[in-house]
Subunit: 362 residues, 5 copies
């Protein structure tokens, strides 16, 4: 019953980076806590490749006219100027740019005249579930991706491009976009796996030992709820990407995007399954607590029921009547004690016959 | 168990302003409690602007032919004549006018020949959730907005027009309409944030201290239910606005309206999340109460179980048998007390071994 | 626990007027309990009007050729001959006629070659929720309405026609049909309002006083369920009426029918809200009962826990050992009593420290 | 707690007549428990009619060329040869024939080139809910119906044909098909009515008397679940029959089939209502049990609470102190008894003041 | 309460064979635990047939040009080279091949230019529910099927081809595909039947004997959940197969595929039914536990209530007052005992009158 002061606070929602009501549409406000952007440019054709971190966004423009595919990868949203200048360079709609910095967008696809804007939600499980917004602009000869911070999630994609394996170098920016989406979607599996393992160990624990599991199950359901909130719009987005005709995405790429869609559907299947399992765990936990109470109740019942008649016998022979023959008996005292033993044994036998002595849970 | 007399009454529904069954369609009845209307007219072109409060609605007509966009902003519905004359001036359908004054309409869009009628529901959290109807008529060169009372919600829009920032002066009445819708939609976020914070503090409280939270959770769920009742039709309305072709709304404005739609979807996502959380809190609260009862049960069990055998021992040596050797012993009394201590200690050890002495909640 | 003999029986369903399985389709069977029909004919043009009760249905035929709109209003379905002859006169399909007399139809719209058949469900709250079937046949120049009994629900419509207000006289039979539908739909609001008020007073009662509310909440949910069963098909019917092209209904009338649809949607919104509230009340009630039990449990615990050690002390000094020094003490008796008081006080302080003495509900 | 040996076994599912996995499609396997088929042929035109039971299916072929409508009614599926020869005679697809003998099909409509195959599920309540498959083949000039056993369900249809009432003789085989469907659909109503009455009497019983209702409610829900499983696909089938163009069904017959559809929708409405009511009953029953426990708890509390202090008083005056003035008093004994009465009365008054003596359920 | 160490671990999910996030699309990784593939080739025309196990996949190519239908049946996925070479031979998309070896795909149909790729999930109940992925490639003149291990599920199909029964030899590869699908779908029925029987015996057990059923019901629900996860996408797949035009599947085959679809719908109907039943069982079990607790509570109440007054009587006559006339009575002791008997009998009669002595469950 002790007051818990250090409990990890469950963040039910996060409104940081939300503009104030009444601010004009397309206002770019940078969250002061965002890390400064690190920009990496990778331009490649089938046989050549350049790949470097840059400081000044102006070096991008000449690359665009020179290389068939240029990938600009911005990690960190803490510098308004960089984002604005990229927006101008690629002629991006300011509402889209606003969505890039307000990092609580639902996953979605928006088609503009010269580019396609894709918002995704990436998840990771770094000691508690967390999610991050990934924004991708797909143009004729460029892919512009924004992440909230520097991480390794896109490194395998870069590695494949460097090695020039498969179609990674010969295909256009739509294939690169697919590869990024695929990396984001595949990132859901380890998180789910983590949840699955936690659920299994929790189930094990609930069945074998007493304890206070309510909060842990609650937290788990909370996490699954958050994951679900990320997954469903991801699925919708995947559906649009593989079903609706998007001019910038080649027919052949769609087979791949359908694969992403399939994965997302699988993820949601598992997720819903886990939610069911978590509900079942809560039920199981509450039932185990109630079983435990029943057990204690039973002990009390038997204890009380066995001792109460004995107390009565003692009380009877403690009465002060003048004429109580037993009191005078030579063996009166052992007789009384014997009576108590017989009573107690009789009751215990009676309770065993009714099956109340065998433990509830064998 | 004291009778609570000052409880804030939960308004389950509000039927004020509803016409009587059988009244002819299009009957305008003004709620006598409505504040008198305050009318403000803002007419602007790219380079010029007039903006003033007016008393007489007749001053509007000349403005309409002169200015590309005229915004008539009526706050307060307490004067039937004003509304009727505006209706005549803009040739509004009487059913639409009826909906303006009966302020319990569901959000909706209705297209008429020369104008488009949009009903929205604005929310605010001024010590308890409240909602207000906003009606907007969008015409070729005018926007006519009705609010239930004077408030600041549209002031930022007006400020932007005055400053002439962005497209606010150059775009037509459809952009102004969008700006008003955007202001209404953005008003949902602080209310949601308020709910989120209340939920978090409630969760904190339930986990750390005993108390009567039922009513507070109940009230919260009530509020979320009301907010939900406002939000879903808002979303439907947004869907129609950005998807269906409405002649008075420019193609370019649609991108902006899609943004409003996105916000509304986000709001509903959060809302449904909160509803889940609130259900979880109720469960958590009921479980904490039942845990507490279990705790008391356990104390009772142990108390009773420990004392009952001791009482029996006392009873036994209180019996009046003539021949009870212990009674004659020199150390009989300490022996009996010792027996009691041994019994009590044995039982306590037994209970500790079964894990019943460690508190349920560590 | 007394046997309740006078409980108002909850009618779970009503199968009266249902034909036997195997009876041929289109068989007209009149419920013997139906009241005899009262027929009122109202024929009007823009400037003239006749309106009278009739006995013989044959007087209707000449009116039809003479007046632009003739409204035949039948209240009471207890005379098979009247219905059959009206059916012949207007050439109505026998399945439609069968539906008129079997008054448990779902609301629906059926289009026939020369007329449109609309079934509605009207509700009222006359000491308990009740519903009634309203059948309307809309033809080119007539409206034929059937109600189960004479009531005032259509009187305001008639009054408006008599006064010739608005479009009531100039518009065709489709407008009259709309007016009747509107009257039926508006009749839902007072019933809902009644439910709302009952829910509020019930909530008030549950929170402030103990009592047996189960049955009342159960009855309320029952009533809401019935109302729901009437409302959803009404909404479907309204959707068809305002969306699908029905040749006999003018384009202009549709705006009005959309208004009816809006009302029906609002009604269902409220209804679903009430159902949620009623579920919440049940939960609240069950929780209040369980709180009350907890309260009693606590009193028992404290009582038992306080008295059991005292009884032991009394028992100890009631033992008959020869050598018990306290028994010889001059102040032995007060000492024992003092011991009891100290024990009792100590336990009470301990319980207060754990917060068990403060009432559960402040 | 006695082992119940004669409990009516709830058949959760029935897999009899299911072919083994891997058996070739279209394999006809006859359930050995099926009754032998009784075949009745009814051929009629507007003015003539023959109707007789036949042994040999070969007598059917000449009738087909002679009569406009021939109805072959097979009751009992226990003879493979009969079914095979009918299949050959009417050129029926072997998958359809397989469905005829495997009597656990879902209701459905299948169109083949020369005929239409309709599977229905008929229900009856003969001391517990039961269902039966009805298969109907509708051809240009024949109707071939299969039932699982001889019963009276189609007798009214035959009677109408014999009497030549209404369109029964003049219309084609599509009307006969409709009449059969109508008979099957109408058969749901008595079963529902039976459920409704059982629910009402159960509700009455739960509210007025204690008892073990769990199993009865459980069985009821079980039955409603089975009925539901039959009804929903029936509704789908009806939808197809009245909406989709089926060449063999005349436009005029559709009005009648829509009537069947309406009935089926009504049935499902009621059914879902009953399911809600049954859930409510379970809740009510569980709540009544918990109330009863509360009642017993209360009696225990009061009993214990009243007697425990009295026992203490007795214990106090049973102490053996030398110096206890009350023991010497002339009226000490009556004084002690009086003390007990005063204590007991005081406690009872205290409990009445808290409202614990008034019965929970008035 | 003993720690259970040998509990069968509920596999909540299985991620084996899942590629690492970031691995390039179409990467074939073979699960090292997969059994080595056994390849069997069956080529047939209407009058001839060859059928043998092969080691080298190169023997397949000449068969393809020679025989109208060649069925290559691969059982076991443990050899990457075999799969790759089959992929090259039939020109299969590498994403499809990837799905073949990652055996946790959802059932689906994918159309490629020259073949159609079908993924199915087969189930079996070999001491606990298990499922297996079946992949089928349908081409113009071949069927290529992959299973996870060697089993008998496709043997009946092979047997029919060998015997040349029905259309099995004359029809094309689409009929063979149908036969395989049919075999997979029919495999669901025994599993369901197993579940049905377990549910029935569990129900029987819960109603007749006490015990710890929670875990068993939980496991059952777990299994049904897994089965459900397999069944729904199977149904979707069947819908696509029989509804959407697939060039490689003949119109005539569709009738057969519709049959598979019907079976799948039936399976899901049953499954959902079972899930409802399992929920009901849980409810029933929890209610039976709570009834049992009530029973024990009652025994305690009666025991305590009966003995407490007797103890008081004994206490009263154990008091040491000087002037207690009863103590001097000749028959004082029998009088006291008689008083106890009368009290006990009176209480028992009182309890029987309230119906508390009759057992809860008769």
């Amino acid at each position: 019953m002790s007051r818990r002061t250090h409990r990890r606070r469950l963040r039910i929602s996060d409104f940081s980076g939300r503009s104030l009501p009444g601010s004009p549409p397309g206002t770019l406000i940078v969250d002061p806590d965002s890390p400064k952007p690190v920009i990496r440019v990778t331009a490649y054709s089938a046989d050549r490749l350049i790949d470097r971190e840059i400081e000044d966004v102006n070096v991008i423009r000449p690359l665009l006219s020179e290389w068939p595919v240029t990938w600009i990868r911005v990690a960190g949203l803490g510098d308004l100027q960089v984002i604005t200048r990229l927006g101008e360079m690629f002629n991006l709609h300011r509402l889209a740019l606003e969505d890039v910095v307000k990092v609580h967008q639902r996953p979605k696809v928006e088609q503009y005249k010269n580019y396609c804007y894709i918002v995704l939600r990436a998840v990771r499980d770094s000691g508690g579930f967390a999610s991050e917004q990934v924004s991708i602009f797909l143009g004729k000869n460029f892919v512009l991706s924004f992440q909230e911070r520097v991480d390794q999630s896109f490194d395998p994609v870069l590695a494949r491009i460097r090695e020039g394996k498969g179609r990674s170098r010969t295909a256009g920016p739509d294939h690169l976009t697919y590869a990024l989406i695929d990396a984001v979607v595949d990132g859901y599996f380890p998180v789910l796996e983590e949840f699955g393992e936690k659920l299994e160990s929790l189930e094990e624990a609930i069945l074998s030992e007493p304890g206070q599991f309510f909060e842990r199950i609650h937290e788990m359901r909370h996490g699954l709820l958050s994951l679900r909130r990320a997954s469903w719009p991801m699925r919708e987005t995947m559906t649009i990407l593989y079903r609706e005709p998007i001019p910038l995405i080649d027919e052949e790429e769609r087979v791949y995007l359908r694969d992403c869609y399939d994965h997302m559907v699988q993820i949601i299947d598992l997720l819903e399954n886990y939610r069911d399992v978590a509900s079942g765990l809560m039920e199981m936990y509450l039932s185990s607590i109630s079983n435990r109470t029943n057990e204690i109740m039973k002990v009390l019942t038997i204890f009380t029921a066995v001792f109460i008649p004995l107390t009565l016998i003692a009380g009877v022979y403690g009465m002060n009547f003048k004429f109580m023959p037993e009191l005078e008996w030579r063996w009166g005292y052992p007789f009384a004690l014997g009576l108590m033993v017989i009573f107690a044994a009789g009751l215990l036998l009676f309770f065993r016959a009714r099956g109340w002595l065998s433990s509830w849970r064998q």
